[in-house]
């Protein structure tokens, strides 16, 4: 809708006809009918202030209740319809449970296995096994990219991609800039997905869709990772990971079953391949977020410069979530790596990158301060402070015996027999993935600017609004949000109009397609029903109807004939 800027500043009045149409009354007495604003869903700014979108839905689709449903369905299904349920537990979740139940990680692993099998799960694995592959691929990838620096296709620094919270942010903001830097190695969760749905399925003589793969993770963002289209097999119509449950959800499961983990009899640990049948879980060096920096650093030092690094020395920079590691020889810096955890450090890293002032070759990026052990899905302590609890979880995590990925039993055999060699096409397909920049529906900066709003001291803010429900914000100069079609009742008082407002109002969430109603309030002065106004928390503007406004500003009353008398200078609602 084209709105012409009115010239000059003069007092303009708005007159509302009985039929609800608006006329602007100019100073010279002439009238001009004001057009109705036409709004479409394209005007939605995707501010995600409302109950949105794919992400929330995705997260709620995966929960411990989903797992329950599958397990229950298994009990009553015919043998050919039953699914093989596999649960892969992350070392971080295990450490969190160990801290809560005062157990060693080994005992926790065994008792968790017992618990899951008790409720109908068939196999319980440890994602530390799949992490070996993730680390090995990361190591190899970095050396390749470092060596290929001369050719412009290889971009440094390499940024880790195991953290889905970071990936979501990277893809959405500065997507096209950051994506080329991301490591293509799959995260341990998704390598496990390949292992279970490809290798293990073959072993069990099942098609991948007959396996229900659950992972236990320390955060909710892993649910988003599992839902990525890249991890969905079109051929078998199944995801590599069907359901992600957080540590907290496992705790809920335990509570619902009335089971205390410490009281269970430990069960022997399962392993994916015979070569890896240890009775104790294993882990990796380099911290609670997988150890990417540590492993890639030591491997690169050896491969690229023939230097053997014993202890990796971390140097904290401005805060403990931003650390640096350097490999120096004769005063020259050969390798410059960093670990950046938490949003503020990610911000600084991205800004440095954008300005071309990033000195690092490799950065381990994690969205959560203190890393995965402090993930959003981990258990919160009932009595200890969160700092003490985190330290306890870290301590338990560190007690697990570490292994070098190259030497981990079963890994080399799988490379040979399952993947047909390192660097093979199969290895590339099953152990790597890709990312793409996401164009936000509209970020604040890419808003398509609306036609010029007539300025001037007395221009009514309702000039470009729906004739039933005025939604306008002058401060951000954005036009009204979609309100759907509205009918007028005979009495002239708007009916409780149904409307689809993508924004939250009056505390009632109303998502796209849902209906909400404005609350009715009595006009104190005239005791006539008027539509109360609510403030839209996203846009901070008052949802006004032509019949009312907030206290002591423009007040219309539904009583015919009184509207003119009450007209004051139109007050814009400032947000």
């Amino acid at each position: 809708m084209k709105v012409d800027k009115s010239t000059g500043s003069g007092m303009a009045k708005i007159h509302i006809e009985e039929d609800g149409s608006y006329f602007q009354v100019r100073q010279d007495g002439g009238t001009q009918k004001l057009e109705k604003a036409k709004i479409s869903l394209g005007d939605c700014l995707a501010c995600s202030g409302c109950v949105t979108s794919a992400e929330t839905v995705l997260i709620t689709q995966q929960s411990h209740e989903e797992l329950r449903k599958i397990l229950d369905a298994n009990k009553t299904a015919a043998p050919s319809q039953q699914r093989l349920v596999v649960v892969s537990v992350s070392p971080q979740s295990r450490a969190s449970l160990a801290a809560r139940f005062q157990l060693t990680p080994t005992d926790t692993a065994k008792k968790l296995t017992a618990f899951f099998k008790k409720i109908g799960v068939h196999y319980v694995f440890d994602t530390a096994f799949s992490r070996n592959f993730s680390l090995l691929e990361s190591q190899r990838e970095f050396v390749q990219r470092f060596r290929g620096q001369a050719s412009s296709t290889q971009t440094l620094p390499v940024l880790t991609s195991a953290c889905p919270g970071w990936i979501c942010y990277a893809e959405k903001t500065h997507g096209s800039f950051l994506v080329p830097h991301l490591s293509t190695a799959r995260s341990p969760q998704q390598v496990m997905g390949s292992l279970v749905k490809d290798f293990f399925a073959q072993q069990q003589h099942l098609t991948p869709d007959r396996i229900y793969h659950v992972t236990v993770m320390p955060c909710y963002d892993k649910k988003l990772e599992a839902s990525r289209p890249d991890f969905f097999s079109q051929e078998h119509q199944t995801r590599d990971v069907d359901c992600v449950v957080t540590t907290g959800e496992v705790f809920k499961l335990l509570e619902e079953e009335g089971v205390s983990l410490s009281e269970l009899e430990p069960a022997p640990l399962d392993s994916l391949c015979n070569g890896a049948s240890a009775q104790e879980p294993t882990s990796h060096r380099g911290g609670g977020s997988g150890g990417y920096l540590e492993h890639v650093f030591r491997h690169a030092a050896r491969e690229l410069f023939g230097i053997h690094v014993d202890e990796v020395t971390y140097r904290p920079l401005r805060n403990k979530d931003f650390q640096e590691v350097t490999l120096e020889k004769e005063g020259r810096i050969l390798l410059h790596f960093a670990a950046a955890y938490g949003f503020r450090n990610i911000q600084n890293l991205v800004q440095k990158l954008k300005r071309g002032r990033c000195p690092y070759h490799y950065v381990e990026v994690m969205a959560c301060p203190a890393g995965c052990l402090n993930g959003g899905g981990q258990l919160k302590g009932p009595s200890t402070t969160s700092k003490e609890l985190l330290q306890h979880v870290q301590m338990l995590y560190d007690t697990v015996t570490v292994q070098v990925p190259e030497d981990a039993p079963g890994v080399q055999e799988l490379y040979e027999h399952w993947l047909q060699g390192e660097g093979s096409e199969r290895a590339g397909r099953l152990l790597h993935t890709s990312y793409r920049a996401v164009e936000m529906a509209s970020s604040g900066l890419s808003i398509r600017w609306r036609p010029e709003v007539p300025r001037g001291p007395r221009t009514s803010p309702w000039a470009q609004v729906c004739d039933q429900c005025s939604l306008y914000c002058l401060e951000t100069q954005v036009r009204p949000r979609p309100v759907g079609s509205l009918r007028q009742s005979e009495s002239g008082i708007p009916p409780p109009h149904s409307w689809s407002h993508p924004c939250q109002t009056g505390g009632e969430p109303s998502g796209p397609g849902r209906q909400g109603t404005l609350a009715r309030e009595e006009c104190a002065a005239h005791s006539t029903p008027r539509w109360g106004w609510r403030t839209c928390p996203t846009w901070n503007w008052a949802l006004k109807t032509p019949w009312s406004l907030g206290p002591d500003s423009l007040h219309f009353c539904a009583v015919p004939g009184r509207k003119q008398a009450l007209l004051e200078r139109p007050r814009e609602i400032r947000c």
Binding site: F343, Q351, L445, T476
Partner: protein, 339 residues
């Protein structure tokens, strides 16, 4: 009371748009104004009149909402609805944009420099407050992202002498932050206002904080340290803040800005009823329960909502104000006799 506030000059600072904010430089010689025309203008005196010395355009793609001078007076920060904050460096009469702070998801509503000069705070409609640190090479790094508020954050202001940050929000609260170990934390929330808190101002000593709100009141808050004489309870080692005075009934509409004169202690307010008011504390009132009297009230200071009032830091009684009508006005305030 009308004579206590006299108009000195009126300039059409931002024609055809609104003037949002004003900031005097620490020396009191220049006034920066910003507006809906996406520009920042620097004003200085030439003889008796105020002239525009520089125009900072090309910095922002949308309305510039606030400007702030660094304590040394060599830098100017401008916060804009385009989600960025520009840092301008002053080179005699020229200003050059040396860096742009990005990161906020949407409109940046306020920016403020810490008295030490190497910390900057910004706040935004994305409900967060960011603290930035600047090093010797003019490099800015984000030190902390604070997500304490539940709604749009309207204003941030630093304590005049301590490294303490205050923010005002649409969620009706004022929050205070300080540095703890290697991160910033919110250590106090001031509740009491019944609507959006639009602006904040510390008094010259830094012991009291004034907040103004859409609920048409100005509240004065005071900090009580643990083991204070007045017996105000504190939790642990955190100071406690109490509302010691509420100025209500003076304003008929939303109060958009409050400014506390660092020289005289007079309190000026900018109101949506187009008026400017000045309050002074009664000298005989109890410091724990002060009373303020209205010493100046100019009903038609501007032809539209007054958005900002700013006391000159060096010249006593010199007050600047700006409005939706795009004009900047300069006033001389004289405390009336017999108060």
């Amino acid at each position: 009371m009308k004579d206590s506030l006299v108009l000195l000059a009126r300039v059409p600072a931002h024609p055809d748009s609104r003037c949002w904010f004003l900031a005097w430089n620490p020396a009191g010689t220049l006034l920066a104004s910003c507006g809906g025309d996406r520009r920042v203008r620097i004003w200085g005196t030439e003889g008796e009149s105020w002239i525009c010395k520089s125009v900072l355009s090309e910095g922002h793609q949308r309305t510039v909402r606030k400007v702030a001078w660094s304590p040394c007076g060599n830098y100017l920060a401008s916060a804009s609805f385009d989600a960025t904050t520009c840092i301008w460096k002053k080179n005699q009469d020229d200003f050059e944009c040396v860096t742009t702070l990005e990161g906020h998801e949407n409109e940046v509503k306020s920016v403020a420099w810490a008295p030490s000069g190497n910390l900057l705070a910004t706040c935004s409609r994305d409900k967060s407050v960011w603290v930035w640190e600047v090093d010797e090479e003019d490099e800015y790094e984000c030190v902390s992202v604070l997500n304490s508020h539940t709604q749009d954050v309207k204003h941030v202001v630093w304590h005049p002498s301590q490294e303490l940050l205050a923010s005002a929000s649409y969620d009706d609260t004022v929050k205070l932050y300080r540095e703890e170990e290697d991160d910033w934390v919110c250590y106090a929330t001031l509740e009491g206002h019944e609507s959006t808190v639009w602006s904040l101002a510390f008094d010259p000593s830094g012991q009291r904080l004034a907040s103004c709100s859409d609920d048409r009141t100005v509240r004065i808050w005071r900090q009580y340290l643990p083991d204070n004489e007045q017996g105000v309870a504190c939790s642990g080692s955190d100071p406690s803040w109490k509302c010691i005075c509420t100025l209500s009934g003076f304003h008929s509409r939303t109060i958009y800005d409050v400014a506390w004169c660092q020289l005289t202690g007079a309190l000026a307010t900018a109101c949506g009823d187009d008026a400017i008011r000045v309050f002074e504390e009664d000298p005989s009132s109890d410091p724990q329960q002060p009373t303020f009297s209205l010493t100046a009230h100019l009903p038609q200071a501007h032809s539209q909502d007054v958005n900002c009032v700013a006391w000159n830091p060096k010249e006593q009684g010199l007050l600047a104000s700006c409005s939706d009508d795009g004009e900047v006005a300069f006033w001389k305030y004289q405390r009336p006799e017999g108060i």
